[in-house]
Amino acid sequence: MAAVIDNAAPRAGLAHDLGYLWYRVRQSPLTMAGLAVIVLVLAVMALAGVLAPFDPNHVSLEQRLLPPSGAHWFGTDEVGRDLFSRILYGSRLSVSVALFVVPVSGTLGSLVGCFSGSIGGMVDTVIMRGTDIVLSVPSLVLTMALAAALGPSLFNAMLAITVVRIPVYVRLARGQALLIRELNYAKAARAFGGSRWHMVSWHVLRNAFPPILIQASLDVGSTILMASALGFIGLGAQQPTAEWGAMVATGRNYILDQWWYSAFPGFAILVTATGCNLFGDGLRDILDPRLKGK
């Protein structure tokens, strides 16, 4: 027996895989930049309480609309709240939205998509036409309409974004299911007599996962943007909660003389979304060729 496997490499464990991933990430400066942003945002989110010099909701009317200074790094808003602290705390909301929306929409959408692709026939057609309808409406408009219908609150905003996002994953997962069905190992499974359910649970789900993961990582950036957009029109988190989009919106009224009010929250949105996108892109480049290689 030893003759057959005599030089197999030691078991490539999780540590090895992560080490390799890190090695690939290091090779791409943009991906590293994206990762740095993500780490920074997560740190801010966790340590907002420690890092914020002021209470974000502390009103102080004598301090209203102050420009950036040594005391208030990003200036203050129209009721004297420190913008820097509000932006730090605001990160929690933006990130939470993404952490809710992406996994939920991703999981629900993928399950429906895998199921649809594997079952085929009338069920598949109906589901596909359903997604067609939803996807034909511009997503921002639809999200806003849904959020408005549900009522302005952070949770409703998250719900609206999730619902509108689901069809994207349904399509993606269905495409993967169709692709996987034609691969040799799926054919082998059919040859052994595997039922459709067996195909989904044993083969489709786990092989469709990487492309879905890549889409999800790219989605984080767009979700943050979407949440900010909703906040901008007043459908997200309500006052006095600090939320980047809402802050940009309110800052509009003061933009001519107090540029910092909209600029800094806007910049926070920009940096976070870009960082997520860069990292998602990099992840796709790393995962894809490796998939082919395997």
């Binding site: 003759a3 005599d6 030089n7 490499a9 080490g19 390799y20 090695y23 690939r24």
Partner: protein, 327 residues
């Protein structure tokens, strides 16, 4: 007279995560003009990489190379990209295993041929097209005009290889490198393509460097052969001599593993074990772990030693060396 191609002690490494893959480990070979030289080996032997290095087709920066590769007097490892571009396609041509991927599937064959011919010979479009027709006819294609109007997917594998051969020969190269050109083809088509290659090479005074894993094809087609294993040459010499009288244990093992050799259902001589990990090559002979003749000396890499009086058949093996040196 200087060789057309001379590779001296070429070592090639690809840095990867936590180490590097040593694809070539001191390869020495040469091709003289008008010869048909074969490189035979299994996966991991380095035969394809050798072919790629001759024309320096590997991505800059993805590898580290030591040694020398001299192609038509040009030092390939140190030449400028401009100098390499000069060589590629016009003095040295290459055809690969998968003709489908060498041709752009979205453009008609004629357009692609004309483009290549114009690139290398600066002819007008009309002249280039006439030339393309002539080249195809030369490759025994019955209806060249029609083929030019086809897309690659409309052609059979054998026909596609003929198109690629026509392109390869279009600039009268002195050396044609063929990397498993017939492996993906049916056996009857394979014979046609091989005969065609040989005929055209002889006609146009070109040498062929033929890379394959198929010993039988090598024995029928090549004047000389190099047997490669784990990035090194283990045996070389005139084909008939090497096939009839293999000296290296690996070559013997390979020939013994061919199903044609034994009677029906007999036990085939399978070389025990498997190819070494190229990221962790052993210090000594790469074949030692699987060799029936392994001995103490094998901890050191054996040099190629001449085994026949004419001095043309060599094997890299301590056991062979002992035999040869014994009175």
């Amino acid at each position: 007279m200087a060789s057309l191609l001379s590779i001296q002690d070429l070592t090639l490494e690809f840095p990867i995560y936590r180490g590097s893959v040593r694809a070539l480990n001191g390869v020495t070979l040469r091709v003289e003009s008008r010869e048909i030289v074969g490189i035979v080996g299994e996966s991991g032997s380095g035969k394809s990489v050798t072919a790629m290095m001759v024309m320096r087709l590997l991505v800059e920066g993805s590898y580290r190379a030591r040694g020398s590769v001299t192609l038509l007097g040009q030092d390939v490892l140190r030449a400028s990209e401009a100098a390499m571009l000069e060589l590629r396609g016009s003095q040295v041509a290459m055809i690969f295993q998968e003709p489908m991927t060498a041709l752009n599937p979205t453009r008609k064959v004629g357009a692609q041929m004309v483009e290549v011919i114009r690139l290398h010979r600066g002819l007008s479009r009309a002249r280039a097209r006439t030339e393309a027709v002539a080249l195809l006819r030369d490759m025994h294609v019955a209806d060249p005009e029609r083929i030019l109007g086809n897309y690659p997917f409309e052609l059979s594998g054998g026909m596609r290889q003929r198109v690629l051969l026509a392109l390869a020969f279009s600039c009268q190269p002195k050396l044609l490198i063929a990397d498993e050109p017939t492996t993906a083809l049916d056996v009857t088509v394979q014979r046609q393509v091989l005969l065609l290659m040989r005929e055209k090479a002889r006609e146009k005074n070109a040498a062929i460097l033929f890379i394959t894993h198929d010993m039988a094809v090598v024995s029928q087609f090549c004047d000389r052969v190099y047997v490669m294993y784990a990035g090194g040459v283990v045996e070389d010499g005139p084909t008939a001599e090497v096939m009839a009288n293999p000296r290296h244990p690996y070559t013997r093992g390979l020939l013994g593993a061919l199903p044609d050799r034994t009677g029906s259902r007999g036990q085939l001589e399978a070389i025990q074990g498997s190819v070494p990990d190229l990221t962790r090559l052993p210090e000594g002979c790469a074949f030692a772990a699987r060799c029936p003749l392994v001995r103490e000396a094998c901890r050191q890499r054996p040099p190629l030693v001449v085994t026949d009086p004419a001095g043309r058949h060599r094997a890299a093996c301590w056991a062979v060396q002992e035999e040869v040196q014994a009175p």
